[in-house]
């Protein structure tokens, strides 16, 4: 039996908006008179109805860049569709419920009740297992475990994003080896700080987000995206363009005894220089 129209609306919300971050289709799925009885903690108020709808997946994807919902059940009667989903994600992005990112893999269930009108969602109640989610996020990883290694690398990247370089001693080994240094980079932690300051000079709001993070043995490797506004001189070569730039990067770290000891990084410098207009886009 083909899925009903109302169930397809909910499926598109999960598969497009939640799982892919495609917030542009929200007006196709939500009624202008939409009422949310269950805005999650931290969801902003104000703005248009569609902006309020978009704020929830934006917040989730900000904290959990790889968030993925699986629809377990949809029950439909009259104007209502009741749903049950399983969410899976890694806490790699922004803080969530007051907790800094740890790279922790989490799984949680959620139910929702959606009332439909004219083929669009007009009313919603939701009940995610926030206590279970918070308990998983707050759990301390076993020392020396892969979870701990992921947490060390996630913290490293988060503190760099926050430009909290003074905290480096807590998770960077004094003999840290940077395998991809900038020209004339000093050894150890001082050189590392110089390298990051080079980036924050060019992009004061630079932010690195892992979209995948994999740990094996004492290695942690991740694929991510970087965003930043080019308002300062880049590497003494490119004067500010004022543009908001996006580029990708892959990073690998060795972690020993709760500290990163070695690092590798590969950034899409071609894409970056093209966006700056230094190299023509073909």
């Amino acid at each position: 039996m083909a899925e009903s129209y109302n169930k397809q609306v909910y499926r598109r919300f999960v598969e497009e908006v939640i799982n892919k971050g495609n917030i542009s289709i929200i007006p196709e799925l939500y009624h202008p008179d939409y009422v949310d009885h269950s805005a999650p903690p931290g969801a902003p108020h104000g703005g248009t109805v569609f902006e309020q709808v978009a704020a929830v997946p934006k917040m989730f994807r900000g904290a959990f860049p790889d968030v993925h919902f699986t629809i377990e059940q949809m029950v439909e009667e009259g104007d209502w569709v009741a749903t049950r989903v399983t969410g899976r994600a890694q806490h790699l992005g922004r803080p969530f419920m007051g907790m800094n990112p740890t790279g922790r893999k989490v799984t949680w269930g959620s139910m929702g009740f959606f009332r439909m009108k004219d083929g669009k969602i007009i009313e919603h109640y939701g009940q995610p297992d926030l206590l279970g989610l918070r308990t998983q996020l707050a759990a301390k990883p076993e020392p020396g475990s892969l979870d701990e290694n992921r947490a060390v690398v996630t913290r490293y990247v988060y503190e760099v994003n926050m430009q909290n370089f003074d905290a480096f001693d807590e998770f960077v080994d004094p003999n840290f080896v940077d395998h991809d240094p900038i020209p004339n980079q000093k050894p150890g932690i001082p050189g590392l700080k110089d390298a990051y300051r080079m980036f924050t000079t060019a992009f004061p709001d630079v932010w690195f987000t892992f979209e995948d993070l994999i740990a094996e043995g004492d290695m942690v490797i991740g694929r991510g995206v970087i965003e930043g506004t080019h308002t300062g001189n880049f590497m003494g070569m490119v004067p500010p363009t004022g543009k908001k730039l996006h580029w990708t990067g892959t990073r690998m770290f060795r972690v020993k005894n709760g500290k990163v000891t070695e690092g590798w990084i590969n950034l899409d410098f071609l894409g970056l220089l093209q966006q700056m207009g230094v190299i023509p886009q073909t």
Binding site: H37, S38, Q73, V75, E76, E77, G78, W80, V81, A82, R84, M97, G98, M99, W108, G109, S110, M111, G112, F113, R115, Y125, Q127, P128, D129, L130, L131, G132, R134, T135, L137, A138
Partner: protein, 147 residues
């Protein structure tokens, strides 16, 4: 003659009234299958997950903690063998709620359930109750990470 779906809805509504709202725990034997399975995610309070005792201990625990515990239905949505129930639970924390001594505080929380019925008996449930909101309204472990 009522459809299976309508009969199933009536079973669930009657179950909420008799057990959660009146504390008639014997009623569980009438409407819950012996091989009942509870898939509720946050089960820090109800220990068993298999058999009628899963629901028995859940209802008993809540009613011991909140003598006036009451579910008010907001919406019931059914499709064949599946019945979902959206309600608001209210109560006064005047007894020991599992390990939590009484605080005297009133709580008001959303609960959602999905039930699977076979032959008019409940064989499975998934319960999503706002336990985090409960802890916050009771003033327990409300900070980041809890405890």
């Amino acid at each position: 003659m009522a459809t299976e779906q309508e009969r199933n809805k009536a079973v669930i509504l009657q179950m909420f009234e008799e057990t959660w709202n009146r504390g008639n725990l014997d009623y569980i034997n009438l409407v819950v299958a012996e091989d009942f399975r509870d898939n509720s995610p946050t089960h820090s309070f109800t220990t068993p997950l298999l058999g009628r005792q899963a629901l028995y201990y859940a209802v008993k625990g809540f009613r011991e903690g909140f003598s006036d515990f009451h579910f008010q239905m907001i919406q019931i949505v059914a499709e064949g063998a599946r019945v979902t129930y959206l309600g608001r639970a209210t109560g006064t924390h005047d007894g020991t709620f599992f390990d939590i001594p009484p605080t005297g505080k009133k709580v008001s929380l959303i609960g959602m359930n999905e039930f699977h019925l076979v032959g008019g008996k409940i064989v499975e449930r998934w319960s999503f109750f706002d336990m985090l909101g409960m802890m916050q309204q009771l003033g327990i472990g409300a900070g980041p990470g809890g405890h």
